[in-house]
Symmetry: D3
Subunit: 124 residues, 6 copies
Amino acid sequence: MGERLDAFHRFRTEMNEKILAHDNLVVRRFFNLDGQAYKPGALSSKVKEMLGLVASLVLRCDDCVTYHMIQCHNEGVTRDEFFEIFGVALIVGGSITIPHVRRAVAVLEELEAEAAASRAKDDA
Amino acid sequence: MGERLDAFHRFRTEMNEKILAHDNLVVRRFFNLDGQAYKPGALSSKVKEMLGLVASLVLRCDDCVTYHMIQCHNEGVTRDEFFEIFGVALIVGGSITIPHVRRAVAVLEELEAEAAASRAKDDA
Amino acid sequence: MGERLDAFHRFRTEMNEKILAHDNLVVRRFFNLDGQAYKPGALSSKVKEMLGLVASLVLRCDDCVTYHMIQCHNEGVTRDEFFEIFGVALIVGGSITIPHVRRAVAVLEELEAEAAASRAKDDA
Amino acid sequence: MGERLDAFHRFRTEMNEKILAHDNLVVRRFFNLDGQAYKPGALSSKVKEMLGLVASLVLRCDDCVTYHMIQCHNEGVTRDEFFEIFGVALIVGGSITIPHVRRAVAVLEELEAEAAASRAKDDA
Amino acid sequence: MGERLDAFHRFRTEMNEKILAHDNLVVRRFFNLDGQAYKPGALSSKVKEMLGLVASLVLRCDDCVTYHMIQCHNEGVTRDEFFEIFGVALIVGGSITIPHVRRAVAVLEELEAEAAASRAKDDA
Amino acid sequence: MGERLDAFHRFRTEMNEKILAHDNLVVRRFFNLDGQAYKPGALSSKVKEMLGLVASLVLRCDDCVTYHMIQCHNEGVTRDEFFEIFGVALIVGGSITIPHVRRAVAVLEELEAEAAASRAKDDA
């Protein structure tokens, strides 16, 4: 796995465990509800993850962007679709979103490299 | 047309005319590019307008929300789909988005009333 | 009731009813969780409402400010305490919070006038 | 005076008096420091007011925008200069600043109408 | 001292010295006023630091969160109280505050480890 | 070149190339328009870069701050002028801008060290 994604996963998993281990109902229910919001319903998970990505970009939350980039990639969002989401984010949120788009593209490259390595392994 | 939508349209049209009448290239190009970002491409206009709506909700821009509610409604976004977008916005952006969701629902009611009146007229 | 508070209550109640009438689990659970976050626990409801107020002020959400001003007033927050909360909000959030502090003080005056009218009535 | 500016001045003056009448040192010193930040130094008041205006636009604070539009107008900022400030705000802050630019232009029209009326009176 | 806190203290101290060494009255007075806002008055320093913490969380400022976590810990805020503050921040500010809550919990663990090490040393 | 500036330039250049290599018209036009907004017109590039800097500070975008610090330095903005811009940013945006001002001052020190080294080399 790429360095950027690896560091993200490790810290996220470690801290989520610590947070959910603490007996606070509001915090635990919020984490649970956060997962439910992206389940398919009238809208598909793919569309909902794209909504989560554009919201994270305009709010300029790098960890949230990384998370939704991974989810969107798993839902089959293509490079062209990613760039159209970036276009909407840039127009709505302005040039202050550019550094976050740069880091999103770096995440995209890691995701594509992972997928290519995985396909090469399957072919071997 | 509903009161809320009517006031929105009038002020928006009047001021956009004044803004675009001024000879400033950056401002005019930005307005032009804003329109292009929602044109269909790899993603449909419907998906792009939903992206614009969720971005406007989490950034808590009422005029932007009103604009994208109208566009989404024209693209055929249903009440169930609107509420799933509101759900993502509430989770990502928190309870400070609630007042904007309230006003979005008020806009939705005006849009549905308009559509019903228009259908009744067509039937007559 | 003061004009500002009256308009706030009417629109809030009307729209919350419409929102909760729609069968969307994420939206309804979020509204429910929003209520639970201010229930007394390790911290009193008074402290939690003050936390909600300062968060609403720095995020510059007038409807949220109005709501938490009412809740804080009901929890017995005094004028001196309110101004110390405003002081923290101004320092943390800067001069862009000033217009929201102005409107918070207008709400405070309505709340104090209501309380005075209610006491006068009880004395009569 | 135009309706928009008149309502702004009246509420601002009334609430500032109430706020400063309360004996809270942090709040009073913050208001005082807010005034000092725009006094001429290494940079002129004109430049500082333009900095205040662009900051208010990207933070999307209408009352702050109105205040700095008035101050900039008094410092001799021209219509062309205002539109270049709007251009920077649109690029940095994105399309969510558009509604605030619209209201800034409405304020500009009132300021120009006032100035024209004042000149006509002087000529009479 | 933990690595996270150590790096925070060193950069903060070094840069604050450089900033305050420059002869700019507004900047120096702002830093001074920032300190005054958390002094006990009608509200205790403990409550004010909790207000500072929740404001920093919803505004998603990691350095501010780290600073107020330390101050709150020194004022005796317990783990249960911290989690209730996190609960309010999550509800008000949404899932974009989650990464900041994760880092706040990492700071809390360092603060608790320091306190435990300090008690062990006193007992020896 | 200083370490902070060097890392900034390398990542920025690498990612901008990747972004502009992708055939997305909205994204490319936005990047182009971003450059045009700071070209001299009714206002000088120096004033426009100062506008860009204060906007970046109050929106708390470190990469944007670094970029505009470099541009301002190239336009001849002095240390006293930088601190007056920081003063406006602190007042408008509050104490949450302090960490960004700290990092801006660290950038300023690197820029001044570079300029001093360059002058020493020219003298040799």
